[in-house]
């Protein structure tokens, strides 16, 4: 360096500076851009989450109101009463009324969500398609419980015009 003229030093400095800028540009194109994008995406996601949560918190009164409204329609069973006997009995009753033969039934586990309970009834059935439709219609509209058919499978049965298959019914209720 000692033997270099001032002009040569200036040229060297300019080259070094260009190299530094090239390094910065290379860094930008070789990973920095993705890092920025990822960091920005994380922030956007977190902001959205925060806004969503804030919005939901601000709607608390609304959800409380809706809950009261929905809960009023939920059937109530005695505290010590077995839900299987209640709901399987109700399902059997509706099936029998609509000419659906239930050959096997299995109660599911009770799951709690707040002060609401949810359980399932799995059953094997046989009947005409028309009976099945009527059975499901009554099941969905009965006031004796809140039922929904979660799973339904059938195939032609042994007797002509009859179908047989499985069904899984969800029941929702509250306990006293």
């Amino acid at each position: 360096m000692g033997g270099m003229s001032l002009r040569e030093k200036a040229v060297l400095a300019a080259i070094a500076m260009v190299a530094l800028y090239a390094l910065a540009a290379a860094y930008w194109f070789m990973g920095c851009r993705e890092t920025w994008a990822d960091a920005s995406k994380r922030l956007t996601k977190m902001k959205s989450r925060y806004e969503m949560e804030r919005k939901m918190i601000s709607e608390r009164a609304d959800w409380d109101e809706r809950y009261v409204e929905e809960a009023s329609q939920i059937p109530v069973v005695e505290a010590r009463q077995g839900s299987d006997t209640v709901w399987m009995g109700a399902v059997d009753k509706i099936a029998e009324k609509n000419y659906i033969t239930v050959s096997d039934r299995k109660p599911g586990k009770e799951e709690m969500s707040g002060d609401m309970q949810q359980t399932t009834v799995e059953l094997k059935w046989t009947g005409a398609v028309e009976s099945l439709v009527k059975f499901m219609h009554e099941l969905e509209n009965t006031e004796e419980g809140k039922f929904d058919v979660q799973e339904l499978s059938f195939k032609p049965g042994r007797a002509k015009g009859f179908m047989s298959g499985d069904m899984k019914i969800t029941c929702i209720f509250k306990r006293k």
Binding site: L20, A39, L43, M46, I57, D64, Y67, E70, D148, Q150
Partner: protein
């Protein structure tokens, strides 16, 4: 706005720098008259463009270092018929080592060199009251290094000399008058004006002597005024100018490198810093989320309960409605054989076209794809939502004797709405 001029003065063997002038600053440098080779020169009109070259041999003849290259500067003081009258001056480097050392020690960069006496004359001019008088006069300025002597015809100098303090004044005045006569022609000396500490005894033999006080005379201010004039004398030696140019170049280079380096650092700081800022902001959002987590969880639980009830209560996408939808688009002579429904997930079924019409099965598939959720829910907001998100014939249509069999997979995923 004019740039501020800083004047450094070398007088009495000491360099005086105005307060606040830091290292590396460019200054105008005023030196005593005895440090310069200075001479009044009459330049012919045809040499006006190279006055310095014309004056060079004249000053070289005066130089104690005749082999040393001189940088001559000329200041035009009067236009005459056959050319111009100039003050030619040069700073002989051979006798300026102490000046250069003092400037180096003070880390100053000299951009011009002037005679302190010329600044003194400029500053003292109003006080000398010489305007309007064309008679020959002599002005003597006492100084720490020498006595500066000017012989003036009106406002134009005809002789400039530096006299040593212990010299024979009468003899030097006589020689100066002879110089003036040789240069400007014969003219009677009308007055001698003495400024400052000058032994003026016996000078009244040449002309009346008038003494003027130093009050109000500021040589530095005079030099500053002269520095602002582009045509004024600049006896800066070439070697000093090279140093100045180099210093200026270095300064520019440093500025450029500093700026480019600073911008580069800024760019790198942005490249590395922005993700950090994003991370910081993300962390802040996380902290804010944590702060309201308890409240949020309570509402979330309530919402889940409401949705659980609604899911059971809302049969729009239920088993019965699905069966109804499929049978509503089922073509004639097509029978469903197997049915497998899972709410919110999938419906798979198989069937047979008794008449073997495959086109009918494809139309059936298209019919299933075209069913809209709004046809079931009767809600306006479900208008563009299909009942099934996807309908496929995974095995195509298979001919079996006079019949055609098929399987259908229908997807519900992501379509289960509140």
């Amino acid at each position: 706005m004019a740039e501020e001029v800083h004047i450094a003065v070398f007088e009495g063997g000491e360099l005086t720098v105005p307060a606040g002038v830091g290292k590396g600053r460019e200054v105008a440098f005023a030196v005593p008259l005895n440090r310069l080779l200075i001479k009044m020169v009459r330049v012919p009109a045809d040499r006006r463009d190279d006055m310095a070259d014309y004056a060079m041999p004249i000053l070289k003849a005066m130089s104690p270092y005749p082999d040393e290259p001189l940088t001559v500067s000329c200041e035009v003081v009067r236009e005459v018929e056959d050319g111009v009258v100039v003050v030619a001056a040069a700073l002989p480097e051979g006798s300026s080592d102490d000046l250069a050392t003092a400037l180096d020690d003070a880390h100053l960069n000299v951009m011009r060199v002037d005679a302190l006496a010329l600044g003194e004359l400029r500053s003292a001019w109003p006080k000398l009251a010489l305007d309007g008088d064309t008679a020959r006069k002599m002005v003597l300025f006492g100084g720490k290094d020498c006595i500066s002597l000017f012989v003036l015809d009106g406002d134009c100098p005809v002789a400039i000399r530096a006299l040593s303090s212990g010299c024979n004044m009468r003899r030097e005045v006589m020689l100066s008058l002879l110089d003036a006569e040789e240069f400007g022609g014969a003219s009677a000396l009308s007055e001698i004006v003495v400024v400052g500490d000058v032994p003026a005894e016996g000078l009244d033999a040449f002309a009346p002597v008038r003494t003027v006080g130093r009050e109000g005379i500021d040589p530095v201010a005079g030099i500053a005024e002269r520095t602002m004039e582009a045509t004024s004398l600049n006896a800066l030696p070439d070697s000093w100018r090279e140093v100045l140019d180099e210093t200026r170049f270095k300064r520019k280079m440093k500025t450029w490198l500093g700026t480019a380096g600073g911008v580069w650092l800024l760019v790198m700081a942005v490249l590395f810093g922005v993700p950090k800022v994003y991370d910081y902001m993300t962390h802040r959002q996380e902290t804010m989320c944590k702060a309201h987590k308890a409240s949020y969880n309570k509402v979330r639980e309530k919402k889940d309960q409401v949705e659980a009830v609604r899911l059971v209560s809302n049969h729009d996408l239920g088993a019965l409605e699905t069966l109804r939808v499929v049978t509503s688009v089922l073509p004639e002579n097509v029978t469903l054989k197997r049915w497998n429904f899972k709410r919110g997930d999938k419906l798979t079924f198989s069937g047979v076209a008794e008449d073997g019409d495959q086109q009918k099965i494809y139309s059936f598939k298209d019919g299933l794809s075209g069913v809209m959720l709004s046809q079931v829910s009767e809600r306006e907001e479900d208008g563009d939502t299909p009942f099934f998100t996807d309908v496929v014939l995974p095995s195509g249509v298979r001919s079996k004797g006079a019949t055609a069999t098929f399987d259908v997979d229908c997807d519900f995923k992501a379509k289960e709405v509140e």
